[in-house]
Symmetry: C3
Subunit: 243 residues, 3 copies
C-alpha cells in the first residue's frame, strides 16, 4: 500500500448499524493510518452468520483496486481461533480464521494467498479483538507495514463446508442471488422450476418470474416489478438446483 496516497480500508462486520463498536474499529484504524479512506461494506450482517458474512465480504470488496479489507464477524472471539492477515495480489484481508474468507479465496483463484497469524498485542482485551487485534493490523497494513512483520506464516486457512447450491443473498428488490454459475437452462427452487431466462429486466413483463446472469456473474432469480423472495418463499440458504 506504500505507493497509494490515500489507502482504502473497507469494513465488514455484524456489529449492527450505529454501533459504537464500529466507531471503535474506525478509530483504531485511523490511529494507525490517519490517511485511510474508510469505506463501510456492511455492518448489518446477521449476528455470527459466517455464511452471510463470507458472501458479503466477497460481494462487497470485489470491485476495489488495492485495498485493505477488515472483516470482523467473530463468534469465536476469546477462543483459540487464529487472527489472520492474508495478502491476495495487491490487497489484504484481515479477519478471524473461521471461514469468513471462504468465498474470497475461492473466487480469487488462481491467486495464491500469503497469510500470517497476527501477533496479539499484550494489552488486547479478550472480548473485543476487532478493536484490539484486527483493526490495528488493518491500519498498519494500510500505513505500509509489511505482512511478514505482523506475525508468523499461517497454513491451512479455515473454510466453510460446501453445503451445495443455494440462495446466497436477497437484494433490496427481492431478487435471489444464487451460487449457480451460468449457463443454466433453468433453476429449481423448492417445488418451482424457473424456466425462463432473460438478459435484462426490460425483456420481461410485469409479474414475470425469470432467471438471468446478475451483476456478480451468478445466476439470479427475479420478478419484474415484484419480489422473487416473497413469491418463492426463499431466502439465504434456500437450496436451488440447475436444470
Amino acid at each position: 500500500m506504500t505507493s497509494a496516497k490515500r489507502p482504502i480500508v473497507t469494513l465488514t462486520t455484524d456489529f449492527g448499524a450505529g454501533s459504537p463498536y464500529v466507531a471503535a474499529i474506525k478509530a483504531a484504524v485511523l490511529r494507525q493510518c490517519p490517511d485511510a479512506v474508510l469505506v463501510d461494506i456492511a455492518h448489518t450482517v446477521p449476528a455470527f452468520n459466517l455464511r452471510a458474512a463470507a458472501f458479503m465480504l466477497w460481494a462487497g470488496t470485489r470491485h476495489f483496486g488495492p485495498a485493505v479489507h477488515l472483516a470482523v464477524v467473530d463468534p469465536g472471539v476469546g477462543t483459540e481461533r487464529r487472527a489472520l492477515a492474508v495478502q491476495l495480489g495487491e490487497s489484504y484481508f484481515v479477519a478471524p480464521d473461521n471461514g469468513l474468507l471462504t468465498m474470497v479465496l475461492a473466487e480469487s483463484r488462481p491467486l495464491v494467498p500469503t497469510s500470517v497469524v497476527l501477533k496479539r498485542p499484550e494489552d488486547a482485551s479478550a472480548t473485543f479483538e476487532g478493536r484490539d487485534v484486527f483493526a490495528p493490523a488493518a491500519g498498519a497494513l494500510a500505513a505500509g507495514h509489511r505482512l511478514r512483520e505482523m506475525g508468523e506464516e499461517a497454513h491451512g486457512l479455515a473454510r466453510l463446508r460446501d453445503s451445495g447450491p443455494a440462495v446466497l443473498w436477497v437484494d433490496n428488490f427481492g431478487n435471489l442471488v444464487t451460487s449457480l454459475r451460468p449457463p443454466v437452462m433453468g433453476v429449481k427452487v423448492g417445488p418451482v422450476t424457473v424456466a425462463r431466462g432473460v438478459r435484462t429486466y426490460g425483456e420481461a413483463r410485469r409479474g414475470d418470474l425469470f432467471f438471468y446472469t446478475g451483476s456478480m456473474g451468478l445466476v439470479e432469480i427475479g420478478v419484474r416489478e415484484g419480489r422473487a423472495d416473497v413469491l418463492l418463499q426463499a431466502g439465504p440458504g434456500t437450496a436451488v438446483a440447475a436444470v
Copy 2:
C-alpha cells in the same frame, strides 16, 4: 471540479443499508477518482420509489457546495431510458432519466441545466448500470473530466407528474414535510385542519399540533413531544391543502 483538492461525490440509492451494490458503486467512483470524498445521502429510499427519491436527492444535496451527486433509483434498468449527467451551476447530477431530478431541477431555477446522455461502456452489464455506467461517470466528473466529453447533449429531461400538494417526507420525529410554501394560514390534512402556526417548537406546549416553516423552507406539521404522522395518520403522498 478541477480546482477542488478533494471533490465531493454524494450517493443516493434504493439499494438498502449494507448492500454490496453500494460498495460496488463506491469502488467504481474511487477507481476513477481516488481523491473523492464520498458522502452517503441515503440508501434507504423505498425500492423503485421515484417520488421519494426525487425528494431525498433534492433535500440531501441542497446544502453542498460544488459536488457530484450520483443517484441510482432505477426501475427501468435494462430498458431504453437514458443515462444522464446534468450540470447545474458548479455541481453535477448523474442519474437515470426517469424523473429523479424533478425536484432538483424545479428548485434550481433560474439555473439552466446542461445535460448529456452518457455513453455506455461496451462492457457495461445490462443489470447494474449503477456500477457500470453511472458511477464511473460520476467518478470521471469528480476527477475533472468535462461534461461534453461524456456524451451527446440531452434534451427534454423526464419529470414526474405533479400530483398536487402532498406530504413529501416524514422525518424521524414524526414531523410531516409538505410541498406547500409559506405563507399559509393553515393546512388541511384529511379531515383535520391544522390552524395554529408557530415559529419554533418552543412556542408550543406538549401535545400541541401546529404548522411551521421547516428547515427546508417548506411548510411542516408537528406535534410538540409527539408524532404528527401518527396523530394525523399521514405519510409520504398524503394530500394536503393550504387554507
Copy 3:
C-alpha cells in the same frame, strides 16, 4: 486541530439512518472544513433520548485521538437551552447544553473542560440548529479556529440526573452493557442474580448466562450463543445491582 492534516469530525444524532438532515450537517461541516474526515458514530439514537445519546457519544468517541465530536440530539431546539463547544484535552465536543455530555465529562476526569456558549449566526433557523449553529461550529474548530473566538465562556454545564445502576445499552448480540464497574461478585437484574463471572466467552458453554468485564471497561452480561436481553427481558434503563 491545526497540526493535523485531515481533522476528524464525528457525528452522533437521532436523525435516523438515511436522513437528509445528516447530509445537511455534513455539508455544513465540509463547507467550513473541506479537509475534514467525517466519521458517523450513530444516527439511530432513539429520538430525543438523551440518556441513550449520552452513552453513545461517550462509547463511540472514546477511542479517537484528537477530533471534533458533533452531537445533535436536541429535544429543546428552538428554546432557550444553550449551544455549547467544549474542549477536553485535545478534542472538542459541540452539542446542545442538555446533558448529552454527561458521560463524556464524567469519564474524562480529571481533565477539566473549557466551554463556550456558541454565538448564534444571524441567519440561523429556529428549527434546525444542528445545521445552522452546531455543524458550522464543529467545522470551524476542525479548520483550526480557536474555541475562545466562538463565544463567551460557559459555566455550569447541564448533566443528566444519576438514576442509579442500570443497563446502558444492548449490543447487536444481546449483551447487556451496564453502568457497573468491576470488580463485582455478581449482578442482579430484576429477579435474577447472575452469579458466574468469566474472562472470555470462550470459558462459557452454550446457553450459559454470565457476567464479564466488557470492552468498555464496564460490567456486561451475556449468554454464550444466546441473547441476554431476551433471556432476562432487559434493555436500556433496566435497573441492575452489584452483589
